[in-house]
Amino acid sequence: MIPYRQLAGWAVFGGVMCLLPLVLPPGILRMVIFANFLAIFALSWDFISGRTGYVSFGHPFLIAIGAYSTAILSFRFDWPLIISIPSAVLITVISGLFFFVPALRIRGTYFALVTLAFMELAYQLTQVLRPDITGGTRGISGITSIVSGAVPNFYLSFSILFVAALLLWFLARTRMGTALAAVRMDEGAVTASGLSTIRLKLFAFGVSALVAGIGGAFYVHYLGSIAPRAMFDINFLFQILVAALIGGSTTIAGPIIGAFFLTFLLEYLRPFIDGPERFLIFGSVALIVYVLKPNGIYSILESGYGLALARFRRFRPEGGPAK
């Protein structure tokens, strides 16, 4: 039983995205690049917060570990990117496991709070601890880029997104995906089914940190600079959260849709209001969607698709795959 329809969806998504540089001007392409990165971060967030139910308010912390590690290794110590990026990802995964140690004892909102405290802690510490390495409050700029120009960067960021999304999609379809969903619903009952929730959670955290680390490392090389206030920032967390929630948590398409929706919404608001006050509209939209449609745009699209399919079937009652 191969999921042909979903594979077709992936192929269409990949194909359309690959054609974008042919039709879009570089300015808009740069927005898409940002959307790609945001989608990676939102997917990483959703893998633990949505699927496993351990809401992380400290995700920017993980992303920043990946970003800072490769920035420092390549800029201060002149490591080649081919070594500094994998090292950064490894460092992120290891820190991710530490970051999530609290999850072995606490859950729910308390876990979210600890991760938020972690992020604020890291923010304050980067400014005072070894500013000669981290660049202190001003951060680091002049970080080597991997490729230059909008089009190559688009293809690079999209490939990372595509691979990460496929990986997470595959994971969600394994027995592991089901087990992680069970952790969200009732951890005690998972234990009573003979599974070690510690192992399951560590796996989920490791995967989430892996994706966050990869995203963060490539993102910093794309940006070329990094500063604590841009990284350990509630506004950044806010964008990640909202992308995942608006799009549709616990799905793979959802966070991607959310990231694109959000990026373009923000961009089209720019002529009217151009500062951070755009977050007002954006936050309001997010809250309305969240309260009315907790499963996000994805569920709206899905029910729309379901309706269309039902109408289609009414004309051809014998058509459609058997359930």
């Binding site: 139910g53 809401v55 308010f57 140690v101 609290p102 004892r105 606490i106 859950r107 729910g108 909102t109 308390y110 979210a112 709070l113 600890v114 938020l116 405290a117 972690f118 604020e120 802690l121 304050q124 510490l125 400014q127 005072v128 509630i234 506004n235 967390l237 806010f238 959260l241 909202v242 929630l245 209001i273 500062g275 951070p276 006050e277 755009r278 977050f279 007002l280 954006f282 936050g283 309001s284 997010a286 809250l287 969240y290 309260v291 907790p294």
Partner: protein, 283 residues
């Protein structure tokens, strides 16, 4: 040394006031309201507008701040929290989103630059080596009066008994004729007003800027989490631990590290003793 003690006491009193509104909501409805920091911000900005921009009397400033805080809190409860009842994760996520949206609203109205807030009362009290601004004295006294008033309200009035009944056993409270919705609205309103009151004084310490809500929120969270849920004495003690830690760090170590120990305290206590140091709460 004496100055340090006074500073510590003053800051701690303010922190206790900041935390108490948050604790109230938490102990009644088990709701972690991450929009709490915005009440504080709202209080500061409303007072600023009324007193410094419009030149109206300070009493009007305080009244405006309290009303704005209380009203906003009730709106948050009615339109957001009540609709997500029974889903604490959704509540904390959506109140956080709301807080960031409110921050954007402040940027829209007041621009991102920080505004300087005058002391509520000018002047410095001087006695031998002791220097204390009147503003600090007023803030501290107000904090303690508000805290005392709240304690009396919760412990000794009909309203307080009803609120405690709802927090202990909602169904039981309904059976004995208490309307939990009204109680909830009232608690949220008081919480909002207390937050706004704290916000006026907090702003005289830190100035006004759009992300000023984050730190008080963390203080409130720390006090509740470290002190233990629903333990008023625990909250007071922790407010003092945090306040003194901050004053000592600023004076003897480095001002930038002010928040580090508070954050470490939250993390360590949540991980080592999830029920808090003085708590009896459940997770």
């Amino acid at each position: 040394m004496l100055n340090l003690l006074i500073q510590g006491l003053a800051l701690s009193g303010l922190y206790a006031l900041i935390a108490v509104g948050f604790t109230m909501i938490f102990s009644v409805g088990r709701v972690l309201n991450l929009a709490y920091g915005t009440y504080i911000m709202l209080g500061g900005y409303v007072y600023f507008t009324i007193v410094q921009e419009q030149g109206l009397p300070k009493v009007a400033g305080f009244a405006g701040a309290l009303i704005a805080g209380g009203l906003f809190a009730v709106i948050v409860y009615e339109f957001l929290v009540r609709r997500l009842e029974g889903n604490p994760k959704a509540v904390s996520i959506s109140t956080l989103i709301l807080a960031v949206a409110m921050q954007a609203l402040i940027v829209l109205i007041y621009r991102p630059t920080s505004k300087s807030m005058w002391p509520v009362i000018n002047g410095v009290f001087r006695y031998e080596e002791i220097f204390v601004t009147y503003n600090v004295i007023v803030a501290t006294v107000t904090s303690w009066v508000a805290l005392g008033g709240l304690l009396i309200l919760v412990r000794y009035t009909q309203f307080g008994r009803a609120v405690r009944a709802v927090s202990m056993d909602r169904k039981g409270a309904v059976i004995s004729g208490i309307d939990p919705e009204r109680m909830n609205r009232a608690t949220w309103m008081i919480s909002g007003a207390l937050g706004a009151l704290a916000g006026v004084f907090f702003a005289t310490y830190t100035q006004l800027f759009p992300s000023m809500w984050v730190w008080p929120l963390i203080i409130a969270v720390a006090v509740v989490v470290v002190g233990g849920i629903g333990s008023i004495i625990g909250s007071l003690i922790v407010a003092h631990i945090i306040g003194f830690m901050e004053v000592v760090t600023t004076t003897y170590i480095a001002a930038e590290l002010r928040g580090v120990f508070t954050m470490l305290l939250i993390i360590i206590v949540l991980v080592m003793a999830p029920k808090g140091l003085f708590g009896r709460g459940d997770i």
